[in-house]
């Protein structure tokens, strides 16, 4: 088990490093260099231009640029943002919290509500309610996340003005306010983005859990449990649900990129101060160091998530645990 974890971790590290290299190489191979992006149409002193060129590694051989970027990144230095003139790493640290809050709560709801609805619809496959669950989750899955977000802004902030339309906290909140007031404010701001993310992604866990549970519902041990008179509820949640969980956890690794791509658009709709909206604004401003830095962090998050999912799945599966 330990050997396997080490090998799997090494593979994840390799993917992060290679992914970083791909991003840096792509930026430098494409037409339109970062310098043009910084300078724009402004007239500039040739000496200043050369200084900038030296700073951004323009005209240097690509391998040197890549090696320097990797070496600096290892020391936590991802460069300096062009638009904000601050270290990329500092900006990212400020943005990480809100993204983890939104992504984490989305995962939590997907894992509880989504898996419950999936198992429930597998146990009552013919019922009208199960069909409604399938149809509604598929419909919200087809609608792009940012459109769901805008729809919810209209519904929850304009037609029924109960929730704030954007931001993660109220800037006018009394700084002396107690913990309860702060938490309520955060929850109030989280409600619409969270609902958007959940509606946009929950179809995946529901459908996966449903098909996994449908398969185990006819397994020999389920029939045996039923035959010896185990209560239906116990059969459902002990004999069907647990074995059906394993493939769903495997696929957890695949949901993470989806959470990221959803987050880019959803955070942009709600001006949520996270990594996703940062990536969107940095791209619009052509702030290339910030875009690359954010990209590297996203790749890292995705790999860490999929590594954890793989380990969790091994731990939960008795056959693989001993292997």
């Amino acid at each position: 088990m330990i050997g396997w974890v080490l090998r799997r971790t090494a593979a994840a590290v390799a993917l992060v490093v290679l992914g970083t290299i791909v991003l840096v190489v792509l930026v430098h191979l494409l037409p339109g260099d970062p310098l043009t992006a910084i300078i724009g149409d402004r007239a500039i002193d040739p000496a200043a231009r050369d200084a900038l060129a030296a700073r951004w590694g323009i005209g240097r051989p690509l391998p040197t640029v890549v090696a320097d970027f990797l070496r600096n990144a290892l020391h936590g230095d991802l460069g300096t943002s062009l638009a904000e003139q601050r270290p990329v790493a500092t900006i990212l640290r400020e943005r990480l919290g809100p993204t983890i809050l939104l992504g984490g709560t989305t995962l939590l709801v997907n894992f509880t509500v989504g898996l419950f609805l999936g198992t429930w619809s597998a146990l009552h496959p013919e019922s009208r309610r199960a069909r409604a669950i399938g149809a509604i989750s598929l419909a919200t899955y087809t609608i792009p996340a940012f459109v769901i977000g805008l729809g919810l802004v209209w519904l929850g902030a304009i037609a029924l003005p109960w929730f704030p339309a954007g931001g993660a906290s109220d800037p006018l909140l009394d700084p002396e306010a107690g913990l309860v007031a702060v938490l309520l404010d955060r929850a109030h701001h989280l409600a619409l983005p969270l609902l958007t993310m959940v509606l946009a992604t929950i179809a995946v866990p529901i459908r996966q859990q449903r098909s996994a549970a449908l398969e185990t519902a006819h397994a020999a041990w389920v029939v045996a449990a039923r035959a010896r008179g185990v209560a239906p509820r116990r059969v459902a949640w002990q004999h069907v649900w647990r074995p059906a969980l394993s493939p769903v956890i495997t696929l957890l690794g695949l949901w993470l990129p989806m959470l990221v791509s959803g987050a880019v658009f959803v955070e942009a709709v709600f001006a949520w101060p996270g990594i996703g909206s940062l990536l969107a604004t940095a791209t619009a401003q052509r702030d290339i160091p910030l875009v690359i830095g954010t990209g590297v962090v996203v790749i890292l998050l995705v790999q860490v998530g999929s590594l954890l999912a793989d380990i969790l799945q091994r731990l939960l599966d008795p056959v693989q645990r001993t292997a």
Partner: protein
């Protein structure tokens, strides 16, 4: 799934008709209408009303359809060619080249598409429709390559390929004439389903203001422009959103129908 195919075809026809015929029948999408009324509800003259500049919404929707579908089609074509080629190289033979190809596909699969897309856009600047299609295609091939690789690995030991080899077919001929056709159904299914992703990404990029630039209409930047008028004219959001969902649903249903049709052994 028996009802999925007619529904998918019907939805696809509606969207394609809108894209092909709509622009011929409607007004100029870039200029204000003759009567010049802004944010006007649906009337006999303007079936879907007018937007904040007094432009006909139906005209913008139809021209947007042409652009959005054109970009999606081109992007998927690019993804299909690259994905099939690399998948065939990775799965169709042994050796160092094939293994490297295979690792490259795995690496590309591990990179979140939206991140790569935004890095490409940031590096090249604001993209025209053609460049946007190219970028969407260049980030769309890994899923197709993975499927093609799997099919090629399965097929290259199939009896009919063995027979071709016995008859003296060159390795290249075995791959191109015998393995490639067998991998195409899976690739086509993935491509059809991929149209939905490309439509959503293109709309998303335009919504972020980094796709096709206004005043040229696409469904995505219509949604972006509607955002400022959500309180007074939610219709401006609803109409392009509905078009987008219709198109993606059509692509998904057609992909599912194609899968049922082309690969009965997987059902």
């Amino acid at each position: 799934m028996t009802r999925a195919r007619p529904l998918g075809i019907a939805l696809a026809l509606v969207v394609v008709m809108l894209a092909v015929l709509g622009p011929l029948l409607t007004a100029d999408p870039l200029t204000a209408t003759v009567d010049g009324l802004v944010l006007q509800g649906p009337t006999a003259r303007h079936w879907l009303g007018t937007d904040q500049f007094g432009r006909d919404v139906l005209a913008r929707l139809a021209h947007g359809a042409r652009l959005s579908l054109g970009i999606a089609g081109l992007a998927i074509g690019i993804a299909l060619v690259i994905g099939s080629f690399l998948g065939l190289l990775a799965g169709g033979r042994d050796g160092l080249g094939a293994r490297l190809c295979s690792r490259a596909i795995d690496l590309a699969l591990s990179l979140p598409r939206v991140v790569v897309l935004l890095v490409l856009v940031a590096a090249t600047g604001t993209l025209g429709p053609l460049a946007l299609a190219a970028v969407l295609g260049l980030t769309g091939w890994p899923a197709i390559a993975r499927l093609t690789r799997g099919e090629a690995e399965r097929l290259r030991h199939a009896p009919y390929v063995l027979a071709a080899r016995t008859l003296g077919a060159s390795p290249r001929r075995q791959l191109l004439a015998h393995v490639l056709p067998g991998t195409l159904p899976a690739a086509l299914i993935a491509a059809t389903l991929g149209v939905a992703d490309v439509l959503l990404l293109e709309a998303g990029l335009s919504y972020l203001g980094i796709g096709v630039q206004p005043p040229t209409p696409t469904w995505g930047n219509m949604i972006l422009e509607a955002q400022g008028h959500l309180a007074t004219a939610p219709r401006l959001l609803l109409i392009p959103a509905l078009a987008l969902v219709t198109a993606t649903a059509a692509a998904t249903l057609l992909g599912d129908a194609l899968r049922a049709r082309l690969s009965p052994h997987r059902r």
